[in-house]
């Protein structure tokens, strides 16, 4: 009888730890996400750092959506759909050409200069 009580209490404590850790992780995940959302009315600040009405409202709306079971990724997609890509500090990685162009141009310039040097050496 005594043993079962101890086991019961142990399970209860473990459950409590698990639940609080879960909710703490949720809070952490949200505040980490807030840091990636740009406050559109304040220069260079995220909504995590800002106390403007815009930032406060956005945090509340994101919190509501998160509590209703939406994932951070889904919320982020919805936010970009509403406010455009400028709302996010993390630009999407799908602009392969945009990200790759500077590299391609650099390589082309490098090859061009090398060929030029060879051309003048032959003279």
């Amino acid at each position: 009888m005594k043993m079962s009580k101890i086991i019961y209490k142990l399970i209860l404590i473990l459950l409590l730890i698990f639940v609080s850790a879960e909710s703490f992780a949720g809070v952490n995940e949200l505040s980490d996400y807030y840091k990636t959302v740009r406050c559109l009315v304040c220069e260079g600040q995220s909504i995590q750092e800002s106390d403007t009405e815009f930032a406060i409202n956005l945090k509340e709306q994101i919190q509501k959506k998160y509590s209703s079971g939406m994932s951070i990724e889904e919320i982020n997609q919805e936010l970009i759909k509403i406010y455009g890509e400028e709302i996010s500090f993390n630009p999407p990685k799908n602009h392969i050409l945009l990200w790759g162009t500077p590299l391609i141009v650099l390589i082309i310039i490098f090859i061009f200069i090398r060929n030029k040097i060879r051309f003048f050496r032959k003279l």
Binding site: V41, F54, E60, I82, E85, L97, I108
Partner: protein
């Protein structure tokens, strides 16, 4: 073609394509913002508790976000009153405001709105609001124009 011209040419073509690709991406991002949030037609009017029927709003109407704590809202208020006199239908959305302050504000400055909805920020979020005041011009159920900040006479003179 001379060999030494080929590489810069290729580079130029790649650059042009990249720029075109970038602009084609950025112009398609906000399509969902063209439509009015359905929440506006699901939220009852503050005074008579009736829902707004979009079909009775006509081809052209205005949605104006305001708050009693917002000073620029007061600056554009006489213009909204003027628009009401010209039979322009305006849906007023009271954004994150204290109810008593809001009622007092309307009593003091007049009510230019056909309908007034009180919003805790949800409608504002769905409409992509940046701040108050903000005004949306709706033609044939589509958002044609959006003005962030107070309205000026020049913004609405064509409709008066």
């Amino acid at each position: 073609m001379k060999k030494h011209l080929l590489l810069p040419l290729v580079g130029f073509v790649v650059l042009v394509f990249s720029v075109l690709f970038y602009f084609s991406q950025s112009t398609t991002k906000n399509n969902s913002k063209d439509e009015v949030s359905s929440l506006i037609f699901e939220t009852p009017d503050f005074y008579n508790n009736k829902l707004i029927n979009e079909n009775t709003m006509g081809d052209f109407y205005i949605i104006n976000f305001f708050a009693s704590w917002c000073k620029p809202c007061l600056a554009e208020h006489p213009l909204l009153m003027e628009m009401k006199k010209k039979d322009i239908k305006i849906i007023g959305i009271n954004f994150r405001d204290d109810e008593e302050n809001f009622k007092e504000w309307i009593n003091e400055h007049g009510n230019p709105f056909e309908y007034i909805l009180r919003d805790d920020g949800t409608i504002a979020y769905e409409m992509g609001l940046i701040g108050v005041p903000e005004t949306f011009f709706i033609f044939n159920k589509i958002i044609q124009k959006k003005i962030q900040g107070p309205l000026f006479y020049e913004d609405v003179e064509n409709y008066l």
